[in-house]
């Protein structure tokens, strides 16, 4: 479990980092927290010729208020910083609720927001949360910078809209609308494992208490975060009754996900878990929306 030899570069600025990425292209791999990349290298599943270590790029580590009421997060911000941020707790309660589910404290001390979404593991929390928040991702290269909506950033299994010379520099997460309740839940074999299934929900109610908007995003049951189309179709305009939430959960788990089977759970079990968890998070989100 030793990686093959590689060239190691340690830039201190974003400009320097993207210059290296431009120079080495497909041969280069940016190293963020290393919580996925390093094990894959030790298993020799990834064999990058050049490692561009971003850990000395200070300018990428921050959590800032955005003018729209949301939050801007630098790509090299560690999970633990997000977990302990008052700003995040205040403005992004869904993200705040989710971060403790990410692996273990040791991993949260090293892992970064940008690293997690660039890796794009479909069973990871942050891709799903970024989608649920309708976040945007800023990419940089020597060619300039561009913003990509989260829905368009995640393209498939470990695949994103990133070009080989690009890196994520910032994530913009808008706040949830007023009268919105949220919830996140997941089921994993052991505390801190990759979840078999996870679900994030945000439900916005009208002044009359009917459902205005529903966001229901699944993780671990497809090749990327899976946004439910069925849940809004069932719920929008309706009273959020227990039966309606049950139907939304059931239909979402039937129609909107594409689970796979592995040694831990068959596809059928994942689908079952998806419906159970969807119901639980929708219920909690509605309760919270009603309490606001």
């Amino acid at each position: 479990m030793k990686p093959p030899a590689f060239k190691y570069l340690a830039p201190t600025t974003v400009d320097e980092a993207v210059a290296y990425l431009a120079e080495y292209g497909y041969d280069a791999k940016p190293l963020a927290g290393g919580q996925s990349l390093i094990p894959t290298m030790n298993f020799r599943l990834a064999q990058p010729a050049v490692l561009v270590d971003l850990n000395r790029v200070q300018e990428l580590s921050y959590i800032r208020p955005a003018e729209d009421g949301g939050v801007l997060i630098g790509a090299m911000t560690r999970h633990v910083q997000v977990e302990r941020s008052d700003l995040v707790a205040q403005r992004l309660p869904l993200l705040h609720e989710t971060v403790p589910f990410i692996a273990h404290p040791q991993i949260r001390n090293r892992g970064t927001y940008g690293g997690s979404i660039s890796h794009a593991d479909p069973a990871a929390e942050l891709p799903a949360i970024t989608v649920a928040h309708r976040g945007r991702v800023q990419l940089r290269s020597t060619r300039g910078s561009r913003w990509v909506p989260a829905e368009e950033f995640f393209l498939g299994l470990f695949t994103t809209a990133l070009e080989p010379d690009e890196m994520v520099v910032e994530i913009a997460l808008p706040a949830l609308p007023p009268r919105t309740g949220w919830a996140f839940d997941e089921f994993s074999r052991r505390h801190g494992d990759f979840a078999l299934v996870g679900v994030a929900a945000a439900v916005t109610l009208s002044a009359q208490g009917r459902v205005d908007e529903v966001r229901l995003v699944f993780m671990g049951v497809g090749d990327r975060p899976m946004t439910s189309a069925a849940a809004p179709a069932v719920l929008v305009g309706q009273e959020p009754s227990d039966e309606a939430l049950e139907e939304a959960a059931q239909r979402a788990a039937q129609e909107d996900i594409d689970p796979f089977g592995d040694v831990h759970a068959s596809a059928a079990f994942r689908r079952h878990l998806a419906s159970v968890l969807a119901k639980r998070v929708l219920t909690r989100a509605v309760e919270r929306a009603q309490a606001r």
Partner: protein, 781 residues
């Protein structure tokens, strides 16, 4: 005889070094000029090797050598049969032991094929990618029952069968017993075990010093003396030229008693050949393939009972997966066969064991060593019988316990130590009663469970009994010496892998010599210090090595008193040993240090026959093992939507005879239960139909963590073994043995409204999902 030292919860002597990172582990050995080895291992479960091309690897800078089976010449030999088959009539046993490097054919994923030695492990691993092996894949043998069908592919073609062994053991007349029965229950049981996953993987450093003509080997083995003797023979050296050190080892749990691993044979050979120190440290991925497993058994078991729940007889036919080779003989399945009888008075038993070769990693003992399989079958049969007969599950057990006056109790079946399994002593009912009290059995069933059920919660209780044959022979030895420094040296041949030997062995000596435990230095696992012994296995350290140390310490005590008696002119019985001094009744005293100086005179003359020093070496070989026993109970809560199970309470009542140090025993139990919890719900080795191991990392092979292991309450019952002077019984494996049986019973109880019958372990959320679905379909007809 809980004394000043023996039986006391004394803090561990070894902890300061371990906790401050000062203890030597094999990978801490760094020697000048040391080179590093990596192995190319088979990617196939079963394949013919057409050719191997190593030429590109040899060209890589930093590579020193590349070796295939052909390059080993006469040194290439199948390993020894470590445990011969037991003397049972009409036994079938086919010996096929592992080889250093695969020749002609590979028989399991991970079997070593090529050895690369290089200036660093990095380069050695790079070179593995340069090697090309041309394999012709063969159909693999994976399922143990299908393996015995006539057209099954063969793991060892020359055998003409995949049957490695068949052993039938009988006690009484089962068919006659069955004819008298009111109830006969038969079921098929499936029990999969896991792998030890010790914190430290295996590793070997071999250093041949050509000028000293001396070989030093650091090896993560449980049996250093046996390794030394075997290697000396294989390498053509004298035993006195080979020193094997088993330093601190980060857990072993059985797989490190297996020998000789291919790497164990090859690394010293390479050092002798290269005249350089050679290191191989197993990495975690290798450990999953290359360190032995325990694997599954299928039992077709039947129990015959009277209406009031008395067992008349048990019949069992079972299949045991031994993997690709069987170097450890039949220890694991024999343990299953014998331990199935448990603490129960069973007049008739008929058991047919079938051991099967498959294209999987070799199976050798891992904590519990097959005993859990037997306990699982017996306890499940009793649970089903209790339900069917309408008898409380603890009551049916109580009625069948061997009564205290029936000991020694002869089970009339041959155990792993080749003699009939006779229980030395036991008193099972008090343990059951204490466990019921600690888990609050009656109140839970009458009040707590109905109340929680009314709240919609699914809670259940599991309670099971077991025995563990421990402390078997053949023998261990020890040397105890009072130094002229006043410190006491203890040396024994067993290895140590976390059992607290440095403390509990010291307590045994302290009890005789009355010296501070911290002044007693225990050395284990270094053949230069003590070169007789067999090893650490079968929960035998405290019994076998413990009694040898006790005997040696007693002998030294006699010498001390004798010497002092000569000094003071007072008979020995009038002397007292206290805090490192010998006192006379009239207040004179001499320290042990001064006595040791006097016992080793530098001038003058001694009486004929005098041995120098205050030293003795003694051996202990029990005729038979000592049988420990106990009861485990737990309360679980099941979420029948998520299929998750949480253990809310866990109780162990344990009887390991005389306890040397209760802290140590409780630690052993806690660790065992943790592994048992893993084996109940988290750990599972999964092979697919191609014989590929699908769970080869800690992402997929799930060890329970602090979050999954519940707090454990331990109650002690002490029934001393009459067959050794200390009265001890082994405690090493018990914690892990009955856990799955208790867990499954508790889950079944929690899901009583689903009418579930669980006949397998381990469970998982996914498996519970399937079982509940099946139960629902059955209910709906």
């Amino acid at each position: 005889m809980a004394g000043r030292y023996f039986g006391q919860p004394i803090r561990r002597n070894e902890d300061p070094a371990l906790l401050t990172g000062q203890a030597l582990f094999t990978d801490d050995v760094h020697l000048p000029g040391m080179v590093h080895v990596a192995f190319l291992r088979s990617d196939y479960a079963h394949a013919r090797i057409r050719s191997i091309d190593v030429s590109r690897a040899l060209e890589r800078p930093g590579v020193i050598g590349v070796y295939t089976a052909e390059d080993l010449g006469d040194y290439w030999q199948p390993g020894p049969l470590l445990v011969p088959p037991p003397p049972v009539e009409d036994i079938i046993f086919h010996q096929r032991t592992q080889v250093p490097l695969a020749k002609g054919k590979v028989r399991h994923v991970g079997e070593p094929v090529v050895m690369v030695v290089a200036e660093s492990r990095y380069i050695a691993e790079d070179a593995l990618e340069d090697i090309f092996v041309d394999y012709e894949p063969l159909p693999p043998v994976v399922d143990i029952e299908k393996a015995l069908e006539p057209d099954a592919p063969l793991v060892h073609e020359d055998l003409g069968t995949n049957l490695a062994a068949r052993v039938v053991q009988r006690k009484g007349d089962y068919e006659a017993a069955k004819a008298k029965a009111d109830v006969v229950i038969s079921r098929r049981f499936y029990y999969d075990h896991g792998l030890a996953a010790a914190m430290e993987n295996r590793g070997i450093v071999a250093h041949w010093d050509p000028k000293m003509q001396y070989m030093t080997i650091w090896d993560t083995t449980q049996a250093p003396v046996v390794i030394r003797n075997g290697l000396a023979r294989m390498l053509g050296l004298s035993e006195s030229q080979v020193r094997v050190i088993a330093p601190f080892i980060g857990g072993a749990f059985g797989p490190k008693i297996m020998m000789f691993y291919p790497e164990e044979v090859l690394i010293p050979w390479l050092s002798l050949k290269l005249k350089r120190p050679v290191k191989w440290i197993e990495d975690r991925r290798e450990n999953f393939f290359a360190t032995t497993h325990e694997r599954y058994q299928v039992h077709y078991a039947e129990i015959a009972l009277t209406r009031d729940g008395r067992i008349l007889g048990v019949k069992d036919r079972f299949y045991h997966d031994t993997g690709a080779y069987d170097p450890y003989g039949l220890t694991v399945p024999i343990n299953s066969q014998c331990t199935l009888l448990g603490p129960y008075d069973i007049p008739a038993y008929h058991s047919e064991m079938n051991v099967v070769f498959t294209n999987k990693t070799i199976v050798t003992p891992y904590r519990g060593a097959g005993r859990q399989h037997g306990v699982f079958v017996m306890e499940r049969l009793l649970d089903i019988a209790a339900k069917e007969l309408g008898i409380d599950r603890t009551e049916i057990r109580r009625r069948n316990f061997i009564p205290p006056d029936k000991f020694p109790y002869n089970n009339e079946v041959i155990y792993q130590d080749f003699v009939p399994l006779v229980y030395d002593s036991g008193n099972y009912e008090p343990a059951l009663e204490l466990a019921k009290k600690l888990i609050d059995y009656d109140r839970f069933l009458k009040e707590e469970q109905p109340r929680l059920r009314a709240e919609g919660k699914h809670v259940g209780l599991g309670i099971v009994a077991y025995v563990e044959g421990t402390g078997i022979g053949p023998y261990e030895g020890a040397r105890v010496q009072v130094e002229t420094t006043g410190k006491v040296n203890v040396a024994t041949g067993v290895g140590t892998q976390g059992q607290s030997h440095f403390t509990s062995f010291a307590q045994i000596v302290a009890e005789q010599l009355d010296v501070d435990v911290r002044n007693i230095r225990v050395v284990t696992g270094d053949t230069a210090e003590f070169h007789w012994g067999t090893g650490t296995f079968a929960s035998r350290g405290a019994v076998v090595a413990g009694n040898a140390i006790h005997a040696a310490a007693k002998k030294v005590r006699e010498k001390v008193l004798q010497k002092a008696s000569e000094e003071f002119g007072v008979p020995p019985e009038e002397l007292e040993l206290r805090n490192g001094y010998v006192y006379t009744q009239d207040g004179r005293s001499i320290s042990l240090a001064d006595l040791a100086v006097k016992a080793n005179p530098l001038r003058g003359a001694v009486k004929p026959g005098t041995e120098p020093g205050l030293e003795a070496t003694m051996y202990f070989g029990p005729e038979r093992g000592a049988t420990a026993s106990g009861v485990h109970a737990m309360i679980v809560e099941v979420d029948p939507e998520l299929m998750d199970v949480k253990i809310r309470k866990y109780v162990v009542v344990h009887d390991c005879g005389k306890v040397i140090n209760p802290l140590v025993v409780e630690g052993q139990i806690h660790g065992g239960v943790a592994q048992g919890v893993g084996n109940s719900f988290y750990e599972e080795i999964v092979y697919n139909e191609d014989g590929q191991l699908l769970t080869a990392s800690f992402m997929d092979y799930l060890l329970p963590t602090a979050m999954e292991v519940p707090p454990i309450e331990v109650g002690h019952v002490e029934t001393p073994s009459p067959w050794n002077e200390l009265g001890t019984k082994g405690a090493g494996e018990a914690g892990a043995i009955p856990t799955a049986a208790a867990f499954v019973q508790a889950v079944e109880d929690a899901l009583a409204d689903y009418d579930l019958e669980i006949l397998e372990a381990p469970l998982s959320p996914n498996r519970l999902f399937e079982l509940l679905k099946e139960a629902k379909q059955k209910k709906e007809g």
